[in-house]
């Protein structure tokens, strides 16, 4: 037996996982329907059993998953990222995270992660980068400009609409941080490789 109020609160929290548009359209009705089902069981002197609640919760979770998958299928998730400045900021930040974490681990030699990544990304001799390492490197490097573009889109849209550069400060901050990050990487690469480009012997 479960306290109905607790069950309703849990259900309300589960509904929050639906895509925003779906939640806005049907959230209230779904909550009402769940309450109606609980009341029905109460009137029939049936306890709000664990089995009933488990079925309702699992069925609703399946619905949540389905709605998200359908959104991805029709490209609505990307549309949401581009039109919603909060989503853009979060996605931009998350895309930059893998490379930032990887660099932190390698630069500051954080063990045991540093040894693990070195073993994973280098050949047996411990010097040359392995194929997996190159794939990871290329993937992480591609995520950076993608994150930069996604976080910058709402800023550009605001500027075009005449709302000013600081209308979405978080997006602007992330875009600037990512730009500095990318610029640092590019400059470091140029400084590192410049001797080879001008023909200095024995450079690698």
């Amino acid at each position: 037996m479960f306290e109905q109020k607790t069950a309703r609160n849990i259900y309300k929290k589960i509904l929050a996982f639906y895509p925003q548009a779906f939640r806005e359209q049907f959230g209230e009705s779904m909550e009402q329907t769940f309450n109606d089902l609980c009341n029905e069981r109460k009137q029939q002197a049936k306890q709000t059993s664990f089995g009933f609640l488990l079925w309702m919760f699992i069925e609703t979770f399946a619905g949540i998953l389905k709605e998200h998958l359908m959104n991805i299928k029709r490209g609505a998730a990307m549309e949401n990222i581009i039109t919603n400045h909060k989503s853009a900021a979060i996605v931009g930040f998350l895309l930059a995270m893998p490379l930032a974490i990887l660099l932190l681990i390698m630069v500051y030699d954080i063990e045991p992660l540093s040894s693990f990544f070195k073993a994973l990304t280098t050949e047996a001799d411990g010097h040359r980068i392995s194929t997996l390492g190159r794939i990871l490197e290329a993937g992480a490097l591609l995520l950076l400009p993608l994150g930069f573009v996604i976080s910058l889109v709402p800023v550009v849209r605001n500027v075009r609409a005449g709302d000013g550069l600081t209308a979405n400060p978080v997006n602007l901050l992330i875009a600037v941080a990512l730009f500095i990050f990318i610029a640092t990487l590019v400059i470091s690469f140029i400084i590192d490789q410049y001797p080879c480009w001008i023909g200095v012997p024995n450079c690698d």
Partner: protein
Amino acid sequence: MSVTDIVWRMTTTNSNPPLTPAVFHILLSLSSGERHGYGIMKQVEVDSQGKVNMGAGTLYGSLKRMLDAGLVKESDKRVDPEMDDERRIYYRITGVGKKALAAELERYRHIVGVAKKLRLFPETFAYDV
């Protein structure tokens, strides 16, 4: 192929594709009048003699797609006199929805016809598995 088969194929092509069980049951429940979410659930239970138990996730997910496809429409929010005083959104079947339901029922009728022709009845071997 008989003439009825040809006519059946011509009338039930892509304009009314087969419906999912959930959509079929929702349309069937709305064919007798406007209902809110809980009302649809209860009617589906009655129509299917308790064999179909639709959860809220399936119901509202299906309703969303049915609204997008124009099979159903939202009516005004109002209080159900048989329930509490909360205002609920009612749903009603549209003309497109009625046509889709009719096409699905026609498909069922045809399938039952085929089963009869093949002398497949509940007591035949096909159902003994």
